[in-house]
Symmetry: C2
Subunit: 376 residues, 2 copies
Amino acid sequence: MKYNQLHFDPGSKARAGTIETDHGKIETPIFMPVGTAGSVKAVHQRELVDDIKAEIILGNTYHLYLRPGMNILEKAGGIHKFIGWDKPVLTDSGGYQVYSLAENRKITENGVTFKSHIDGTKYYFSPEIAIDIQRQIGADIVMAFDECTPYPCDRNYAKNSMEMTHRWLARCCKRMDETSGLYGYNQSLFPIVQGSTFSDLRRKSAETISDFNQDGNAIGGLSVGEPADEMYTMTEEVCQILPDNKPRYLMGVGTPANILESIALGIDMFDCVMPTRNGRNGMLFTTEGIMNMRNEKWKDDNLPINSELGGYVSTHYTRSYLRHLITSKEILGAQIASIHNLTFYLWLVKQARKHILSGDFSTWKDSMVKKIMIKL
Amino acid sequence: MKYNQLHFDPGSKARAGTIETDHGKIETPIFMPVGTAGSVKAVHQRELVDDIKAEIILGNTYHLYLRPGMNILEKAGGIHKFIGWDKPVLTDSGGYQVYSLAENRKITENGVTFKSHIDGTKYYFSPEIAIDIQRQIGADIVMAFDECTPYPCDRNYAKNSMEMTHRWLARCCKRMDETSGLYGYNQSLFPIVQGSTFSDLRRKSAETISDFNQDGNAIGGLSVGEPADEMYTMTEEVCQILPDNKPRYLMGVGTPANILESIALGIDMFDCVMPTRNGRNGMLFTTEGIMNMRNEKWKDDNLPINSELGGYVSTHYTRSYLRHLITSKEILGAQIASIHNLTFYLWLVKQARKHILSGDFSTWKDSMVKKIMIKL
């Protein structure tokens, strides 16, 4: 994997670049649609390419491990062939489920025991197992196994957890070095900064993981309920330490405004379930602001969903029709809203990139943040 | 509306023709995907055109009346503009709900009181109201308001109901004549043959409705639980009476085999929820037979779903992936299965048409019926 830095924005830390993988090039900053169990919910693979212009998607190791399971993924020749997607894929490590399944897991120095959310079966993940599974899945970018701490978090807990995450990182790197990809292409490992909302811990973590000198670096443990300001403060401090010549990935973030603000702090990669999950619920992000399609006001609005955004779903279907589909719980409503929101997210990061390259990102960003978060 | 009869099959009553409507031409025999509430479930409008090759779709008056309601449909300029579909549409009359909502309706000579399946609100449909509503929806082909009798049905009940359906038909025709389309294009009314499984009643009904001399004729009250043989017997008797120079529509039918057998009896138009509903449940109709995707045998079958059928979903996605999506309840599973099954149904009627035109329909039909109903 190779990262080429093309341009810094003069008014912020925003940067434009490219990441080259064995499954093709990614232009940064980039948003990665989330395909938890090997499917970006309600979206066809060709729609990801043709309509949404996605360049990389994300899969969840924990979910893929439970279903379809490693045997089936290996027989298919890895995730790309299994799902019919030949562009890059990134997998998380299961570390986020250490957080989200808090009631159903036990952490020790050696690893984590999970209880499946599907049938209660117990599974054991260690740093080594998380790497082995990600080798079997075959993502282009694999994530280190970490503990994602909750918010708020006791300082002592955060410090001990972070130190364990660093020891786990060493084990992940060792395992990566001792093994190789199963399907003939390269896989890169991204370490993850932890440290909750404590600046000194975050700085320490950023220094520690930078020293592992991997192909890229990630920031975890944010967007877990803390105020946006704290998230930005932590991101800013960490970005000042993480090396400039490698991509930076802010995990699980976020709203369109969160993404633009974080690009300004030096982040290159994002993922979030918000565009698809909120879309299925009838919440649309548009070039003019946020539309709640359950609102009565759209019931006889026969304008296209969002002409300015362009693309099939946003120009072909009307607001009144989408409202009808969403309130009638028609699957097509979820399909339209998901494609629309993802198209918007990809449009937004492409616009950001354009403005970074043309040198006016900061002023554009300030005006966009105000506009796109208005409730219509 | 104009029906052109192109060819009779020498070995059966099968015919190939074209129907011309103000929204374009339909080549018969044809299958009409069901878009109950203004959406063919899990399928985009462009997929109906580009992948499935649908030429006409069906909407349900009862469902559209409840949601989005007539006010919204009229403001949108009718069903075509509301849903973004510029090919022909056919609407049923609500008569089928007289059957399917048996617990929640009361029938009198004047009309039917329904209790909404959504919120229990009471609504009243009469032949005149059913026509007025279908004028507001704006389908190209509207159906007469009838009573669809259950199976088995007492002879006396069937006779009285059929006679009332005939009196309702006279009222529907009168209302059609007194009114005109709201959106600048023509609408045709199809009367419906009833009479349960009694040959003499069916013949009487076919004679009666033929005399109304409308643009096409339909057969209702079949595919409601009677043995297939009884359905074919009734269809055959009725087809011998209904005029040759008008299209014949067998409502709510059926399996791929039902469709081929009914084409052989002289039917031109079909609709059924089976390809979409069974698809969502993991049942696939293919050129080789029926695949239950929940079956273990597909779990590591990495062949395309159905190469012979062709098209994006059937060649791009594998059986193992579709099985994973269906068993994981991913929306994309419903999308793929629905597009595949509808593509298969449209392929089947197009193949039938080709063989009618080339004069070898009967032998082709006999071999296909055996093949496509095999459980793989």
